[in-house]
């Protein structure tokens, strides 16, 4: 059997001690806790025992028990009782105490006092029974398990109160036993403890108390560990002190570009786009973090680095969906676009997105540029012409887009297959192959017509594309998912892609024979980046036809990757006009809502326009969304996690530190930054902060936005500890030397706060501004360098300091969770209605009638498919709502038929008697 333990993990202690005490023949494997959990059900740092049968034990107590069982020592009532008590009572308290010691830097004495009652419990048991060990006169599994929980907190018996004599004696004899001593020596090495500490620091305390892993925690990379815990060298400390002393003079002057921003020779010119949101959907939080907010954070960072930066975005407005929406609302497509463009712009303004320009695709520049690219492709022979069979509804006088046809699936005979895909068998369908097709708008029967279309000859462009991709992959920062998706597209082989459509709402095709057609939206939309820039400046070509000077970053969610990495570059390569092509393609995974997906039709999730109605400030939303940015893996928005992160990270960590640093200057030094005389400890801190700052840069340069945020929180954690250890509020009352020390600590702390304000600006611009005003940080210091320098020297006057964050209360967050749905909305919304309209059938139906259940089950399945189909086709909300209500009613009847609901009141009735 193999025992896998992580060095430094406190639970490793008891299992090793138990293995030693029971002389179990285990093969010990030291696992790296940061790589992956040892067992699937347990968080890292918890040991796992892999038995020869393949079974894995993940509970430390069960592992200990197993070692003693294997030696023939059966559990007794007494050992069971100790193990249960340890797991339910002692362990949570001991973990909290250890966290307080290691992370908050609480003194050992204080934390031992917090364990008071539990220690008394052991003492009383030992004295009452008068035995040497917990469960009798010989050592048992109970002793090892309880000792293992206490030792990391106590270290030796002298930290125990002297009146607990029996406990002291027992603890000492345990600690001195060979098995325990060996376990302690191998697990609690100073270096391993530091690693464990840095792990704890990255996690809020509640996670430890319940020992659960959440997917929203980042996988810490080895790099990060190096950054926070590597030993400082003399050179690093000296360099940090030098940089500090140079002060503001060492900072470059902030670059304030002329408007409009244009590329500048000799500067790093960064062009940033975020995927154009489709105009007739209100974006939800997932859309916001997926592109505009991520791109905004990066754009702000670039500006703070003095890189000459242009950030553009806008709404994507052409296409069938807009046309249909317009018909529904009785407006023209342009009016629909105007209406929704304003909604989008307002949402992004509220989120403080720093676009240099937020435009739209329905402009004359779009027509000019798209038609130019088209003409160039045509002239160079990259377009093919072919006839396509397409369904046309004569009643509606239009060719039907795939989503407007339904019929019987040619593969599985499912009756409500969509024009592009069958929901039942999942196969892709060519709309003309559907049996009995129907127009979804008028329910008329469409006919097959042939129509001429133009195709982009991707196979002919493949060679150029691959050469370019190879070079862009090698020199740029493409996220792993973007590389992967692109490679799989290329590997599957490129086929010609149709670029025209039989629609009216779009960019007209400038070619005889096609004048009644428009460009297909995926050909057209990315050209929007260019035309939006053209609306910003008539010198747009200096950005878009200038790959020598411009670096292009595209931000998007992963579903958009192929259009940006394969199809659009192919168009531009084919057009052959020295276009700027993407250098860095940054794609996120998906953000889920609580445990499901965001859904407009079900009213589940938070949408951009609702965020401000929550009363939670935009910066808190920004912080939380960036904190769980789906970087590398999907993540999930959760209300209780939002509350936790706000209260633990913002309020208690970051806000607390910045506020204290400022308050000390005001309260103890009359608002003027005091003189600072640096000791070795302070110098070490400077070096430590510098390391975090460099790590922040390293990560942001690779657009690892979420990970870089951890560096900010890490610095304020160092700051809190620094204040806690040095206690300036006590020293200020002491002698001259103490007062000088209080001044130094306050001065260093307020300078850390000043730098945090700058580092925070890309994430929380309003909070950053508030700190800037409170501390009166000179505007010229709003620049990011690689050094931590003293920007608020002795004599600098700060302004009025006030708290930056507000606590979120449980009630408030619960109310929001209810309001925005979270898995249960369907039931909540429909129950009252169902009760009112159908009180009778509930009692009339014979519970458990198999025929009825069968019938209802089929109905539910059918209606369910229908609803899904409506949703997939983005049908009108009112229609979806009606059908959902029908579905829920059917489900309700099904439950009743199965006898589920009637049984509940019956059960309650019984209990009342």
């Amino acid at each position: 059997m193999r025992l896998r333990v992580a060095p430094g993990g406190p639970a490793a202690l008891k299992v090793l001690a138990a293995a030693g005490a029971a002389a179990a023949p285990v093969r010990l494997v030291w696992g790296d806790p940061l790589e992956r959990p040892l067992a699937s059900l347990s968080p890292p740092w918890v040991p796992a025992l892999e038995l020869d049968s393949g079974t894995v034990l993940f509970s430390p107590n069960a592992i200990c028990q197993f070692f003693f069982l294997a030696r023939g020592e059966e559990p007794t009532d007494l050992t069971n009782q100790w193990l249960e008590w340890e797991a339910t009572e002692l362990q949570p308290a001991a973990s909290a105490a250890l966290y307080a010691q290691l992370v908050h830097g609480k003194k050992g004495q204080e934390t031992v006092e917090a364990l008071g009652q539990l220690l008394d419990h052991i003492e009383q048991n030992l004295t009452r029974r008068g035995t040497a060990y917990l469960a009798g006169d010989t050592k048992s599994v109970a002793d090892v398990v309880v000792w293992g929980a206490l030792f990391p907190v106590l270290q030796d018996e002298t930290s125990l109160p002297s009146e607990l004599q029996a406990l002291r004696t027992w603890f000492q004899s345990m600690t001195l036993s060979e098995a325990c001593r060996k376990a302690a020596d191998s697990v609690l090495m100073p270096k391993a403890l530091l690693e464990f500490k840095s792990y704890l620091q990255k996690h809020p305390p509640p996670c430890l108390a319940t020992e659960k892993a959440t997917s929203n925690e980042p996988e810490s990379s080895p790099q990060e560990e190096d950054g926070s815990e590597h030993a400082l060298t003399e050179e690093e400390i000296t360099a940090a002190v030098d940089a500090w002393a140079r002060g503001v003079a060492a900072l470059p002057k902030p670059w304030r570009p002329q408007k409009p921003v244009l590329p500048v020779e000799g500067m790093r010119n960064v062009l940033i786009t975020s995927a154009l949101p489709y105009v007739n959907n209100v974006p939800h939080l997932g859309n916001i973090i997926g592109c505009v907010l991520s791109a905004d954070t990066f754009a702000r960072y670039c500006r703070l680095r003095n890189w000459n930066t242009l950030y553009v975005c806008g709404t994507d407005e052409y296409g069938t969906a807009t046309e249909t929406k317009a018909m529904e609302e009785g407006l023209t497509p342009q009016e629909i676009c105007n209406k929704y463009n304003a909604i989008h712009a307002e949402i992004y303004r509220w989120f403080d997105i720093s676009f240099d320009y937020f435009g739209r695709t329905t402009t004359s520049h779009q027509t000019t540029i798209a038609q130019d690219i088209f003409q160039r492709l045509l002239a160079r022979g990259f377009l093919l012409q072919d006839t396509v069979e397409q369904l046309r509804c004569e009643d509606c006088q239009r060719f039907l887009a795939d989503r407007f046809v339904e019929g019987i699936c040619p593969f599985c005979n499912y009756e409500e297959a969509r024009g592009d895909q069958c929901d039942k068998c999942g196969k892709l369908i060519n709309a003309v192959e559907l049996k009995n097709p129907q127009c979804k708008l008028c329910r008329g029967i469409p006919v097959v017509k042939t129509t001429q279309h133009l195709f982009l000859d991707l196979p002919k462009l493949e060679e150029r594309l691959e050469a370019w991709l190879e070079q862009s992959f090698a020199t740029g920062d493409w996220t792993a998912n973007a590389r992967y998706i692109t490679r799989s597209w290329i590997r599957d082989g490129l086929k010609p892609r149709c670029i025209t459509r039989d629609l009216k709402w779009g960019t007209p095709v400038p070619l005889d024979g096609f004048r009644d057609k428009v460009f297909y939206v995926w050909f057209d939309a990315p050209i929007g980046y260019l035309s939006i820039t053209a609306n910003y400046t008539d010198q747009w070509e200096r950005w878009w036809k200038n790959p020598q000077q411009v670096e292009l970053y595209n931000f998007m969610a992963k579903d958009n990757v192929p259009f940006h990495s394969v199809i659009f570059p192919s168009s531009l390569l084919g057009a052959d006009d020295n276009y700027t092509l993407v250098n860095h393609l940054i794609a996120t995974e998906y953000l889920n809502y609580e445990d499901g997906k965001f859904s407009k039709s079900r009213g589940v999730g938070v949408f951009g326009d609702m965020a401000k109605d929550t009363g939670i400030p935009a910066d808190i939303w920004r912080f939380y969304l960036l904190y769980l940015r789906p970087e590398g893996q999907d993540s999930a928005f959760s209300w209780s996690d939002l509350m936790l992160k706000n209260n633990s990270e913002l309020l208690n960590n970051l806000g607390n530190f910045i506020n204290r640093a400022g308050m000390f200057v005001c309260k103890f030094f009359g608002g003027t930054v005091p003189n600072m005389v640096l000791t070795l400890d302070d110098k070490r801190l400077l070096a430590r902060v510098t390391l975090e700052l460099r790590q922040y840069h390293q990560l942001l340069e690779k657009v690892r936005i979420r990970d870089a945020l951890r560096c900010i929180l890490s610095i304020s954690r160092h700051g809190n500890q620094y204040i806690q250890v040095n206690e300036p509020w006590k020293r200020i009352k002491g002698d001259e030397k103490d007062r000088q020390r209080a001044g130094t600590v306050t001065g260093v702390a307020v300078n850390m706060a000043s730098m945090l304000a700058v580092m925070l600006q890309p994430y929380m611009p309003s909070v950053s501004l508030a700190i800037q005003e409170q501390l009166r940080i000179p505007p010229d210091c709003f620049i990011l360098s690689h050094n931590f320098t003293c920007t608020l020297p002795a004599g600098h006057c700060v302004g009025t300091v006030s708290p930056l964050f507000q606590k979120l209360e449980n009630d408030q967050v619960e109310a929001l969770r209810k309001r925005f749905g979270g898995g249960q909305t369907e039931d909540l919304a429909v129950e009252p209605q169902a009760k009112q309209t159908h009180p009778a059938p509930a009692t009339l139906m014979a519970p458990g009638d198999p025929q009825l259940i069968q019938e209802l089950t089929e109905k539910v399945a059918k209606q369910g498919n229908y609803v899904r189909q409506l949703k997939a086709n983005k049908a009108e909300k009112a229609q979806v709502d009606t059908e959902v209500a029908t579905l829920l009613e059917l489900k309700k009847q099904l439950l009743l038929a199965e006898g589920k609901s009637p049984e509940v009141p019956l059960f309650k009735g019984k209990r009342k008697k």
């Binding site: 059900l41 107590n61 069960a62 008590w85 009452r128």
Partner: protein, 172 residues
């Protein structure tokens, strides 16, 4: 808590009239015994009752089974009883669903005390699950349905209905 110990005693065929107390904020059950200060804790008392009824096989037969039973009893009293939020419940259901993927019972192929107490501990959760959730945690549902039909286990607790045919095969 105390109620399920009464259910367990009945299931084990022990005589009626065992008296239990509770202790502390968490209402930890206490069993008064003739000799000594009594026993405290759900796991401890349950194991004691099993031994009294001479049904020791319910605690596992081999050392490995015994440790696994211990592990899941501990999971029951720490995670299932400790968890209060919707997320905790979801985590537990996910954990169990993974664990039960290739097992008939919690401890593999034998029915044990872990199954009984986990069933009692999860009953209030399973009652409230929607049809869709039950289908999502398919392995838990299969196991739960199996245990509730195990002779003598369910007693007066409500029978939780599971639908045999899947309704949400398209759901991702």
């Amino acid at each position: 808590g105390v109620e399920e110990l009464a259910l367990l005693a009945k299931l084990l065929g022990l005589p009626r009239g065992i008296k239990y107390g509770v202790q502390g904020e968490r209402k930890v059950p206490v069993l008064q015994t003739n000799n000594g200060p009594g026993l405290t804790g759900l796991m401890t008392i349950a194991a004691h009752l099993v031994k009294q009824a001479k049904k020791d096989q319910l605690l596992g037969i081999t050392a490995e089974e015994k440790a696994v039973v211990q592990q899941w009893l501990e999971y029951r009293v720490t995670r299932v009883d400790g968890g209060t939020s919707k997320e905790d419940t979801t985590t537990i259901l996910k954990d169990l669903n993974i664990h039960l993927e290739d097992k008939v019972y919690l401890a593999g192929n034998i029915f044990t005390l872990a199954d009984i107490l986990m069933y009692y501990g999860l009953h209030h959760v399973m009652v409230d699950l929607t049809v869709q959730e039950k289908e999502k945690y398919l392995n838990v549902s299969r196991w739960f349905n199996h245990i509730q039909h195990y002779p003598g286990v369910r007693q007066h607790l409500s029978n939780v209905i599971f639908i045999k045919n899947r309704l949400y095969t398209n759901a991702h």
